[in-house]
Amino acid sequence: MGSFATNYEEIAAVLLFVIGMSNLVFQPNLLKKIIGLDIMDAAVYLFLAAKGYIEGRTAPIVVDGILDASHYINPVPAGLVLTGIVVSVSVSALMMALTVCLYREYHTLNIDEIMMKLRKEED
Amino acid sequence: MPSYFILVPILLPVIAGILLLVFPIEDARKRNICIEIIVVINTLLVLWLLTHRPSESFYMFSLGARLPLTLNVDGLAMFFAGLVACLWPLASLYAFEYMKHEERVNTFMAFYTITYGVTLGVAFAGNIITMYLFYECLTMVTLPLVIHTMTREARKATRQYLYYMIGGTAFAFIAIVFYSLFCNDIAFVLGGNLNLAAISNHMDIALLVYVFGFFGFGVKAAIFPFHGWLPAASVAPTPVTALLHAVAVVKSGAFAIMRLTYYCFGTEALHGTWAQIVVLIAALITITYGSTLGVRETHFKRRLAYSTISNLSYILLAVATMSPLGLIAGLSHMVVHAIMKISAFFCAGAVMHQTEKNYIYELDGLGFEMPVTFVALFISGLSLMGMPLFAGFVSKWNIVHALLEHESMLGYISVLVLLYSGLMTGIYMLTIIVRAWFPHVGYHKDLVEDFKDPNWLMKGPLVIFSVLTVVIGFYAQPMLDFIQKIATGIY
């Protein structure tokens, strides 16, 4: 059980991921869905960052002369995280837009009510 | 003769039919003449082709690896093609008269003609893939014929027909794929061409696949429990039911099974296995079932349909004996049943066409008003029940021979079943005759007396078929010799 003590970031990440995903799927409210989505993504970034971090090294930012690579942590995950953030931002923006459109149509944020109204208009 | 010539009789009717679809001919007379000319020419072409057979098979093209499309005229093809070619012109003659009062005759006739070509395609197919192709096409081109009247029940029947057919081919497909993978060479060879070495340790799977194939193709041959479409499909106009039930569809089902059994899987692989027993029993059940329900049915054409169900299984029973004798018997019953059943259906059609009577109990005393029709019906009835001196007896005789060849209990039982079904046939055919000729005292004569026999277009085929029935019944040897040659691979 020692591994739990050492990889607590991973555990946290996984927990967050599950929380976010369940929100995304089960929340009736659109905004909360989006929040769930963001939590989910954040969990992944945490995970990545934790993977990239190496005990007792500094961020790979050159301040006073280049030290050899063994002083720096792995920079790739950081890059990935950045990219990921960009992606997730755009996705949540799209979700927002969708939410706005839906609200204009149905004057509610509750997906169930929207469904009900949709059925009504269909028949 | 060059082998590509085989393609001509297949394409000619198809093209003609498509042309008719695109440029309809409104004047009925002109249309009939055109169609009859086409059909007759095609028949002559076929007969000529059969007499001058190309030596090698014609390779069209390949759908893919192991999927070549070839046409070939071997003995079985000769047989089936000859049968179809001889019956078709008569059938279409009959159809002209019958369809006089229907709507959308152009479409009908177009597809009727196309079906001719496709059926020939089934006959001439040189390997099982090609046969499958034409087999599927046959289903599709007969759809418009079945649905033609567009009544509710016609549409229902058509859907049923379609689902049964596709379901059947879907299962036959398995057998085809299996065979195409595990055969030495996919072309039809009498005696089968299965690569037994490759499947020696999965024999049961091969047998299972064969059973799939048998039942799959058996759907067209209306084997129990996949017979449901046939009685339902008798809502179609009579020329169609006659064709479906007597020549094109059901026969190509039986034909396909013969191909599968004798020319693909091979009898020595199948003989004496559980698969053989399964198919034999299925055929027996079908015979019993069909003839029994025929007695119960009071709708004229549906009764004949049930009779077809049982008679088709005579053929399958013969095939299921998996012996050369069986093939002979099956083929002879194929031709005999074609003749007598098409004549029976045409009689039913003539009655419906002249009197709008659909049910047996309405036929009281019609025999005196429509003598030709009912004499023809009587002859075909006797032949169906296997009366000696009529064609039906000859084929039944052969089937029994095939069954009793190996003295097995199942063989004896099958003979008993055949006799039972013969009795039932006697009951359901002769009751019609008795009604027609011996009406009860005090039947309403005035109701029937203004009816009369149809004109020669309808009568002609009837007479010809009846004569054929009697002639074969009296002197069957030439036919049997020919079939013998086929079954022993001389052709």
Binding site: - | Y412, L423, V434
Partner: protein, 491 residues
Amino acid sequence: MDINNYFLIFPVLLPIFAGVLLMFLKFGKREHMQLYILAILIVDLASVGWIALQPEDTLTLSQFFIAEGLHVFFHVDMLSKIFSVLTAFVWLMVGIASFEYMAHEKNEQRFYCFYLVVGGVLSALAFSGNLLTMYVFYELMTLTSMPLVMHNLSHEAIMAGLKYLFYSVAGAFMVLFGFFLFNAEGRVLYFSPGGIINEANPPGIMLFAVFLMIVGFGTKAGMFPMHGWLPTAHPVAPAPASAVLSGVITKAGVLGIIRSVYYVAGPDMIKGTWVQYTWIILSILTIFMGSMMAYKEKVLKKRLAYSTVSQVSYILFGLSVMQPVAFVGALMHVIFHSLVKNTLFVSAGAIICKTGKTKVRQLVGIGKEMPVTMWCFTLVSLTLVGIPPTSAFVSKWYLISGALDSGVPGLSWIGPIVLLISALLTAGYLLTISIKAFLPGEDYNYAKLVNHEPTWRMLMPMIVMTALAVILGIWPAGLMKIFADIAASVL
């Protein structure tokens, strides 16, 4: 192959063609038609007689093959001669008698045309030299005699006709099974005295086949369990029809059994097997049941029909014990019973058409009104009961003595006992009629006694047949010699 052989089919074709022709002929007066029929019948009898006079086993006609193994073959031996002559003779007699009877029926002409056709078919049946031919004409007989049954087209007549048809067809198919089986054995089924298979302890299936053949032909002979049609069909048919039905056509069944058992299977094959025992038991049952039913029966013709059931089973019993003496007895009973039963039915017909009385209790004092008829009736009744020195006494004597030393365990003495009981019953159900007819009792009103005697045309046949029945009983030697020869040849 000289011309005589072709003459063989003359007595077959002549009545058939004459009958068919009759369908289309138009006669100004009934007399003309009667003359025509009379002429045909006489010529027929003459030709048959001529054939009968030819020396033994010379006439053979084997020109005609349907297919290999299917051979229509005519051959004349002693048995054929006897049956054919009997048939032709009875046909003539009943024909003459029917002229008067049919006066009060409709569609006379149709009746006679079928009457003639059946006559022809029967002689063909007698001449047929192998099972196939026999089967063909057996079926034809069924089909052509059915119209006689359903002549008056009342509902029950038609139903009776159909019942007759289906029973007979069922029987015929049972026969067919045996036929198929023997053929599969690879034997050519030309009748030969003593049987062609005739091997001790044959395979069980063969025994089963023989049994089926016995039951199948037994259908026509009204043997239990297939006797059901007989009491239904005879009463509804016109009297002449029922006369020939029970007088001759039942004997066709007997002929069939003789042929299949003694000329195909061979007695040695059956002797001592379960087949023989079941057969004996069945015939005994039939004898007993038939006479009981006759005893209970109130309607005259029905009573006669039941008596036929029991009497024909006398014959079958005689055949079943497989013992020369009994065999002779059986054959004699064939002749006698047919004479007797025809007389009975004809007189019953006379009563019906003259007085319209059908029930037994109505016949009180009828002997006063139509003495000649009733005298014949009484005489033949006595014959049938078997009072010496009348004919049936002789036949029964032979039957019983044959049965007693046939050495069949148990049944050899149960049979005779049953025969005696049924003789008593016969007396019970026939003589009571005569007694009532002549001794109506004092409350019978002699005042309004009118003479219903039919004309000579009806009386003559009765008298002739009665005379024959009696005389043959007194001087049976000639017949017996012939039968003894036959018995010797087959056993």
